[in-house]
Symmetry: C2
Subunit: 119 residues, 2 copies
Amino acid sequence: MPDHLQPAFRALADPTRRDILRMLGDRPMTIAEVSDQFDMTRAAVKKHLVMLSDGGLISVEARGRERVNSLKPEALKPVMDWLGWFDQFWDVRLDALKAAIEEGNDNEQATEQQGPHDD
Amino acid sequence: MPDHLQPAFRALADPTRRDILRMLGDRPMTIAEVSDQFDMTRAAVKKHLVMLSDGGLISVEARGRERVNSLKPEALKPVMDWLGWFDQFWDVRLDALKAAIEEGNDNEQATEQQGPHDD
DNA sequence: TCTATATGATACCCTTTAGTATCACGTCAA
DNA sequence: TTGACGTGATACTAAAGGGTATCATATAGA
């Protein structure tokens, strides 16, 4: 299984890039427009946009002297699919928890795994 | 919005860690057991496990002199939710495409957005 | 108790990443 | 044509990532 979705995962690993994605969800934006929303140089934002493009998450279209960056939400589908593989597990766990609760909870060593320490 | 899911996204950004997650989907494993599956030192694997733990994706339970690492698939839910926000966009696009196809395609300037340049 | 084993913890490398500063280039407008 | 503007590209620095080697510690077992 060649990790063809590695660039996408890596692109998503930075909070600035995730913010950019959501901004582009509103409308396509030029590099300058995106840069205006962040407290960093245009060059830094450009690097993030390149990584997003490498991950296939955005498309860049030349329009005169501008570059319009547009969201490509379809690229998130493979990522969702990868994560979706784990649904089978927390489905099972939720079932087990539910069953344990309904059975009454005096044999609950087996359910301590999904303990409630989700900060 | 404090980026509380940043550790999770960062943990998912490495292919080795994603492989570990799927391995732990099979069964909980000790550090040594996980290390056996990779061509790297135990210390390197340990670092990955720490990052996975920081992201809340696994739990580590001491059992004698061993540390059993277990998958915590619930931790992927916030990540799925974040990604799910983008469903609205490719849903709209798919709908537009579908509508265009069903309507017959001679007035299709409006649908060129989801053009066939999906590599 | 003694020893092998599973792990924790550092210190250290090399590469990548995130950021800046700077300059060159194409394009829009007067 | 001139100049302002949006961008590309490069060089540079600081920090984080991914990896190794090494030593210390706790525990299982004879």
